[in-house]
């Protein structure tokens, strides 16, 4: 049942607080606006017609994915470089990475759908798409390393170092893919999220999308990070309980002789 401390029934709090309620509500409103503008009010594009509406979810997803990755990188650096080595940074990095994977996956799927409509193919090896796919896999690796076990600080150090190496790789992959694709003269094949002519209303819808998704991201990250605090706390309690048991055992054995 609910974890009631001796002394009476007190309600236990979950990961929600006023802050998350505010962000959650704003995010929900933003998403509703996005649907209204993206699907109804904004005009069809001259060249891409209705398929341009996918842009209003695809671009904001991509933005959040990169934002999430950036937060993971910065939080990882802060964990490593600050002498306090506070696990709060580690948990923020982990939470942001998980959400980043979600948004990156969604970016890739919508990119494929948009590409199928606009250019007839699900995938093109254009630099941006390839880099996104690369980041997606790198993030997956990062999350897998976080689950390798060991102490919380071991997990934090390993994944933080991995995140830093990831930051090192990104420009390398970016430039090699760019150099590679430039050989194939991709400039003539317009890229999927490359600048359809945006009129005012379209720009506004895109803007709404970016705001809404950023709010969503913040809301999700706060919840996920707190959930990680809970997971770690349970781990600690498990350890404490095991130690208590062990000492009790030892005491019994000692007393029994």
């Amino acid at each position: 049942m609910a974890n009631a401390p001796a002394g009476g029934i007190t309600p236990t709090h979950d990961t929600g607080t006023r802050v998350t309620q505010v962000f959650g509500t704003l995010a929900a409103l933003g998403v509703a606006w996005l649907c209204a503008f993206g699907l109804l009010f904004s005009p069809a594009d001259r060249d891409q017609r209705e398929s341009v509406r996918i842009m209003y979810v695809h671009v904001p997803s991509a933005w959040v994915a990169y934002l999430a990755f950036g937060v993971t990188a910065v939080a990882s650096a802060l964990y490593l470089l600050r002498s306090s080595h506070s696990l709060t940074w580690d948990r923020l990095a982990g939470a942001s990475a998980e959400i980043g994977v979600l948004f990156m996956g969604v970016t890739l799927v919508t990119g494929m759908l948009w590409g199928r409509l606009s250019w007839g193919v699900f995938w093109t090896w254009d630099a941006r798409l390839t880099l996104t796919a690369f980041l997606f896999v790198t993030f997956l690796g990062y999350l897998a390393v976080r689950r390798l076990g060991g102490t919380q600080h071991q997990r934090a150090k390993r994944s933080a170092v991995l995140a830093m190496l990831g930051v090192l790789e990104i420009p390398l992959v970016h430039f090699s893919v760019r150099l590679w694709r430039s050989l194939h003269q991709d400039a003539t094949v317009a890229r999927i999220d490359g600048d359809p002519d945006l009129d005012g209303l379209m720009l506004f819808s895109l803007f709404v999308g970016l705001i809404a998704f950023t709010l969503l991201y913040v809301w999700l990250v706060i919840h996920r990070q707190r959930a990680l605090v809970l997971e770690d706390a349970l781990d600690d309690h498990g350890l404490d309980a095991a130690l208590v048991e062990r000492r009790a055992e030892a005491a019994l054995q000692g007393g029994g002789r």
Binding site: L80, V137, R158, L162, L168, S176, L179, W180
Partner: protein, 233 residues
Amino acid sequence: MAERIRWIRWQRTRAIAAKDLRVELRGRVLLNQVIPFSVLVLVLFGFAVDDDGIAQRVAPGLIWMATLFSLLVMVQRTFAVEAADGALDSLRVAGVDPTVIFWGKAMALAVQLAVLEIVLFAAAIILFAPTLRVSGVALLTATWIVSTAGLALVGTLYGGLTAGIQGRETLLPLLVFPVVAPVLIGATRAVESGLGTTGAAVSEGWPWIGLLTVFGAAFAAGGTLAFGPLIDD
């Protein structure tokens, strides 16, 4: 004083590299298992592609793919050797600097990789008959050196992370393959330019050598910094 310390560290690095190479010479795993495996990969690619013209054009890519698969095997082996007797921990307890271990193992891995790549290149020439040209030899040699360095550094670094504990080894491909993507792209394009398989001129290969060098330098630095924290569990 600093001079002496540097010399000692260099001696230790060489000792570790020599130790790894001696283990290989005694066990002949590279010779008897990894090289045949890699050539087999090339042969299987030949079956899969089933078109002489296409196979000839993609031969450079196939060489590097086979190299990458073999890299995984070699990295796992080089750390399995340590894990068996807890040798890595013993070295650390004895006060050996992790960067010394990193560079020692990376050097040994590089030597073995270099041998592997020569064999694969020769096998590809035989199997897929791309034409060799004298003008491309310098480029091919440069590619060989720089790519090997980059792959050895990345392999040693991530190998250290995934070594030992069961359930970790399967993580190695997932971590390493995205990271070495630039090497695959760059080395393949450079070899294509060296051989002229896609009509590429030799001059088009040199920018890739630049990229590969930057890659190597980045992971020389990154590996030196990161290897210690990663293995100090």
